[in-house]
């Protein structure tokens, strides 16, 4: 009898420790990260439910990824911007971080939402763009651990309630332009009253109003005129969204591989946009004909986050959009001429139905050569816990971690990695990057309520890897928009350098390739944003390399 119980215990322990392969570990506290995102406990207003993003970027050029968390105010603290303090953590190595916010000058007092980064002024140092309610901010990197707020001079204040952002060279003039999505119109002095009528109820319980029933905001496109000055061109470019959809996640990528960056915008409670770059400074929304505007049954979804990747190693970039509960996360395979919704076939659809999805990313966590998928979740109504849940998860929700089986399907495996991955939280932003440069991708989240999570990837039996940093020539020093193709045996993988992705967040811009048992990368080809290419042969695995664009 005792032996039987012992055997059961041993089995349970084995299950709880990620099948003995190390798994993921929450190291937030040990890492010295004490940031806490502020939010009103009851979320009586929609403006209190949507923040905030997180960025992984190397602000001090020391080769290590640093972390920036965006904070927000509440309606009660709106009059005192200093009540919100976004935070920059410098990576000291060895998973130790130190808060350098005050020295860097990026505490960003005010109502923060999202973040994206890029070397906007082409000086080789990453700059920081933070979106929010009542104006955005561009922080220029001073190369000495400090930033200067150059927003007004640059002309990228925006205004209203901005959410997602991303830099890309849409007009291919060499410099980086900026798209900013906006959500709903908010007047803090005239907020729709909590639970005021039947449109502000959820299953009979009074909740915050919106976004349906509220007026949406148009979006911004800022064209870089050089010398750190931008011009608002959304209307003339055809991406202004005059009808005011509820814009959130943003993903720049060249879906039709014509060399010109296109743009996907995730809209809450409405059809998404896929803007086709018409190569003349204008765009055309082709989301419907391409099959990425709505769900496969034609229903508008509440889309939040965006991940773009060649998840099936087909050579084409597909799209994942996270959605509201009772709406599946939509996985669109790029067929070349159009997209096909493969959410259910790929087995990520049904399992996502109870969750409100936010940050999301494709990443090869076990380095087997196939991109896995993560989505972080959390509802918008704390009041939900008081009512019968039906098909929904509660207010706090666990993560979804989908392991790519390499056959077009995914298996949801979060539970195999124990508490770190299945702890119920109210997550929003998510960014993936290799924080300790060990070739295993780590996870950082920004939660609406409370502390963020820094999750260290400690998978012991992960495959070989390669981490590629691109150095563009000319103005786009980060090579944003570049695509790298790695061939290793039968594995052919494609990665994209992106500014802005997930849910209003910024991922590591270095490109990570999981290589399984491959001993070398047979060929590595870089397609630079200007259309030129660089090829390399027989690259050693398990190393970080930098590829400069030839002059």
């Amino acid at each position: 009898m005792t032996r039987g119980i012992a055997a059961l215990l041993a089995f349970a322990l084995a299950q709880g420790t990620a099948s003995g392969n190390g798994g993921f570990r929450d190291v937030t506290r040990d890492a010295g990260v004490t940031f806490v995102h502020h939010a009103a406990p009851e979320k009586k207003f929609i403006v209190e439910s949507m923040s905030g993003g997180v960025a992984l970027f190397d602000y001090d050029n020391d080769g290590r990824l640093d972390i920036y968390f965006v904070d927000s105010l509440t309606v009660d603290t709106a009059g005192d911007p200093k009540q919100a303090r976004s935070a920059l953590y410098r990576n000291l190595g060895g998973f130790k971080f130190v808060d350098v916010t005050d020295k860097a000058g990026v505490g960003h007092p005010g109502w923060g939402m999202g973040v994206c980064t890029a070397d906007v002024d082409a000086d080789g140092w990453e700059d920081l763009y933070v979106t929010g309610l009542g104006g955005n901010a561009l922080y220029r990197n001073n190369h000495d651990g400090t930033f200067s707020n150059v927003t007004e001079r640059a002309g990228v204040t925006g205004g209203g309630w901005s959410a997602g952002c991303g830099f890309a060279d849409y007009d291919r003039d060499g410099d980086l332009d900026l798209f900013v999505s906006r959500y709903v119109k908010v007047d803090l002095k005239q907020l729709p009253q909590f639970g005021r009528d039947k449109t502000c109820q959820y299953r009979g319980v009074p909740v915050q109003c919106g976004p349906r029933g509220l007026e949406g905001e148009s979006d911004f496109l800022f064209r870089n005129e050089g010398n750190m000055r931008f011009t608002a061109v959304a209307a003339q470019a055809g991406v202004a969204d005059p009808s005011g959809s509820f814009g959130l996640g943003v993903g720049w990528f060249d879906y039709n591989e014509d060399g010109w960056p296109d743009l996907f915008v995730a809209n809450d409670s409405g059809a998404n946009f896929l803007y086709l770059n018409q190569k003349n400074g204008t765009f055309k929304d082709v989301a419907f004909p391409m099959g990425v505007a709505v769900s496969q049954d034609g229903a508008e979804q509440g889309s939040m986050g965006v991940a773009v990747a060649d998840f099936d190693n087909s050579g084409h970039f597909g799209i994942l959009a996270t959605n509201f509960s009772e709406e599946y996360n939509s996985l669109h395979r790029n067929e070349g001429q159009h997209f096909t919704d493969v959410s259910f076939k790929a087995k990520i659809g049904a399992i996502s139905l109870p969750f409100v999805g936010w940050g999301t990313a494709f990443f090869d966590y076990d380095n087997d050569g196939f991109l896995d998928l993560i989505a972080v979740n959390g509802h918008v109504y704390p009041q939900l816990d008081k009512v019968k849940l039906g098909a929904s998860a509660g207010y706090r929700q666990r993560k979804l971690l989908h392991h790519n089986r390499g056959d077009g399907t995914f298996e949801e495996v979060a539970a195999k990695f124990g508490d770190t991955m299945i702890e119920e939280r109210v997550s929003r932003g998510l960014a993936i990057g290799d924080l300790d440069d060990d070739g295993r991708l780590d996870i950082v989240t920004n939660d609406l309520d409370g502390a963020p999570q820094i999750i260290r990837n400690e998978i012991a039996d992960a495959g070989n890897w390669l981490l590629v940093r691109l150095k563009g020539r000319g103005v786009n020093t980060g090579a944003i928009g570049a695509v790298v193709t790695a061939r290793a045996g039968s594995l052919v993988q494609k990665r994209l350098v992106q500014s802005g992705s997930s849910y209003i967040s910024q991922e590591d811009k270095r490109l990570h390739f999981g290589l399984g048992k491959a001993e070398q990368v047979d060929s590595l080809e870089v397609l630079w944003p200007d259309g030129t290419t660089t090829a390399m042969k027989n690259v050693k695995v398990n190393q970080r390399i930098e590829i400069p664009q030839p002059q």
Binding site: D197, T199, D297, A299, E300, F324, F344
Partner: protein, 325 residues
């Protein structure tokens, strides 16, 4: 009638015997004449003189404020295809007897039949609370909620109906359809397989099962079941929709277009078919048709959204599956 009864009681209380007697006699006469009129209406109906029957029932309803007459009148109007008239009769009956289960039940069923699911939902929700053990109310509520697009609450109502009376093929079919609409294809397949066992010849059940199978990527099984349905009912909306979806999955866009066009011909409110049709036409290079179907899709979607908004304003405490949608 109630006023008369109150006056009578008052007169008796006051001891005004003569007047009370007179009033009692008048009431008795009135009841007798009401019974006579209803009896005559029934006879006219039996003899096939429906117009005269309706006239008598309308007269009885007006003169005696008779709920019975109004219920019978609505039934006759409904049988004659006058749904609006039937609903109006039931509305009058509801005003006279707002708490009558019989009246409420008739009103809800008539509303559903007349294509007015919002009042049906409100009424059935009240009935469900009045008589929680009556399976029919939960079932009808589920059906009505599906009609207004409130899929999540529909599943709840239908599951309650299934618990009260297990293994009823109709309930399982409705539950399967509701699961399908929520893309809960595994759950849908499970209940629909049971429904097929219980009612093998039902084309709707087979088509819904095929839809679940298509959602699960089981294209062969879906195709087989669709063909079974279409052999007997070539215009079946759901079967054609699934045939179209299977063809889309197989990149057979011309076949998809043909099947989806049949689906929307049969059921113009099937916005999923309109949407997929726009995709099929686009992939065939027929941009004009793609735009046309896209517009039809948008119009249908707007109509459904309007209905959901209406329901939201009407039901309140019941809520809908999500205020964000």
């Amino acid at each position: 009638m109630r006023t008369a009864a109150r006056v009578l009681a008052l007169l008796l209380m006051l001891g005004v015997a003569a007047q009370a007697d007179a009033l009692r006699q008048a009431q008795g006469k009135q009841q007798a004449s009401r019974a006579t009129v209803l009896q005559r209406a029934q006879q006219e109906l039996t003899s096939g003189r429906r117009v005269e029957a309706k006239r008598l029932l309308t007269d009885a309803a007006d003169r005696f404020r008779s709920v019975q007459a109004l219920l019978l009148l609505s039934r006759v109007q409904s049988e004659d295809g006058d749904a609006a008239g039937a609903l109006e009769s039931l509305r009058k009956a509801r005003r006279l007897a707002p708490n009558s289960e019989e009246v409420l039940s008739a009103f809800a069923q008539m509303s559903l039949a007349a294509g007015a699911p919002v009042p049906a939902v409100v009424t059935l929700d009240a009935l469900k609370r009045m008589s929680p053990s009556v399976m029919q109310y939960h079932y009808l509520l589920g059906v009505a909620l599906m009609r207004v697009g409130d899929r999540l609450n529909a599943v709840g109502a239908l599951q309650a109906a299934e618990q009260l009376e297990p293994n009823r093929a109709l309930t399982l079919l409705a539950l399967g359809i509701a699961h399908n609409s929520l893309q809960q294809y595994a759950e849908a397949k499970s209940v629909l397989s049971r429904a097929v066992e219980l009612d093998r010849g039902n084309a709707d059940t087979l088509a819904a099962l095929a839809e679940a199978e298509q959602g699960l990527g089981e294209l062969e099984a879906a195709s087989k079941h669709v063909q079974q349905v279409l052999a007997g009912a070539p215009q079946h909306a759901t079967a054609n929709l699934v045939a179209g979806l299977v063809a889309m999955d197989r990149s057979q866009y011309a076949e998809a277009r043909a099947a989806l066009e049949r689906a929307v011909q049969t059921d113009p409110l099937l916005f999923k078919a309109h949407y997929q049709l726009s995709l099929a036409c686009g992939r065939l290079g027929d941009e004009v048709a793609a735009s046309r179907y896209l517009e039809q899709y948008r119009q249908t979607l707007r109509g459904v959204q309007k209905m959901i908004d209406e329901l939201r304003m009407a039901t309140g405490p019941m809520g809908t599956d999500s205020v964000r949608r």
